[in-house]
Amino acid sequence: MRDKLDIEATSRTPAVVFDFANNHLKIAGESYPEDVTEFYRPVFDALDAYLGKLDKGSCRFDFELIYLNSSSAKAVMMLMDKLEAAAKKGAAVDVHWFYDKEDDTMQELGEEFGEDLETATFHLEKMPG
């Protein structure tokens, strides 16, 4: 397994920085890709490979999304499901959802995703600045 997945942000896709060596994963920016499936496929694949080997280890996942369209919301839910499944298998998973304090829609969306995490620990936080 590679020790890093690094996808640069574009105007329509978020930056994805999965630092597997340090168990710190992050997705940040705006998400309204032309083709959601095509963009998220390598992200899901890398996450599956990593979580499959995490076992009882710990990891942190930061969501720093400014805006996501409705089809990306489905992709984010699938990321959350994968994290929750890993936590259920014994990993210590910390999920941080950062939202812009001026946009309560993203705060609400974070709350909704958080409600579905039973075993993974969820943190809802304002973006700094």
Binding site: S11, S70, S71, A73, K74, D100, E102, T105, E108, E112
Partner: protein, 189 residues
């Protein structure tokens, strides 16, 4: 004559408060380009962050609805083999963004099949009459559900529009002929 005709078209849009208008075949790069210009205009207007994000989010959902579902389309009869996977189908629609006092309005229209009208009317009426709390619950339910047959997205677009809008969504249908109807959807922010 030429200037007069175009000026009349512009005046008509202007009188309705329209600041952006696009009528034609819509592609993802069109969405990107118009979207960038829209963000710039909202920044110049000094719109607050929430308004800017909501207008933009609704614009994206409305544009993608045209790109995915408009029943009026043009396509290459036989795409070259070297172009496999290239977009060979483009869909037609109209989208306007306007101002009315302090509000922004994002309107979109496109042809739909008559056979789809009852289902669309039912879904939109249901969403239109929901409170923000009910919308939130339905959104969550839909997020977990498998997409409806014929859906190319997550089936969340109309709900996203209704959640981001500050007033109930408005929609209408006009008969075109036996096969098609013109569908219009307006969101106010």
């Amino acid at each position: 004559m030429l200037a007069g005709q175009l000026m009349d078209l512009r005046s008509m849009l202007h009188s309705q408060g329209v600041i952006f208008a696009y009528s034609g075949y819509v592609t993802e790069p069109v969405l990107s380009g118009v979207g960038e210009a829209l963000k710039q205009k909202l920044t110049i207007d000094d719109a607050d962050t929430k308004t800017l994000r909501s207008v933009f989010a609704i614009f994206v959902e409305q544009m993608q609805n045209i790109i995915r579902y408009s029943a009026e389309k043009a396509h290459q009869p036989m795409p070259p083999a070297s172009d496999a996977g290239a977009l060979n189908e483009i869909r037609y629609g109209i989208l306007t963004i306007g101002r009315e006092g302090n509000d922004y309005m994002v309107c979109a229209g496109n042809l739909v099949r008559q056979s789809d009208v009852p289902r669309l009317k039912e879904r939109l009426s249901r969403i239109r009459n929901m409170s923000k709390e009910e919308l939130k619950a339905l959104y969550k339910e839909q997020l977990r559900a498998d997409p409806e047959q014929g859906s190319k997205g997550a089936g969340l677009g109309f709900m996203e529009i209704a959640r981001r809008a500050t007033q109930p969504i408005d929609f209408d249908f006009a008969d075109v002929d036996g096969e098609y109807s013109f569908f219009a959807l307006k969101a106010t922010i």
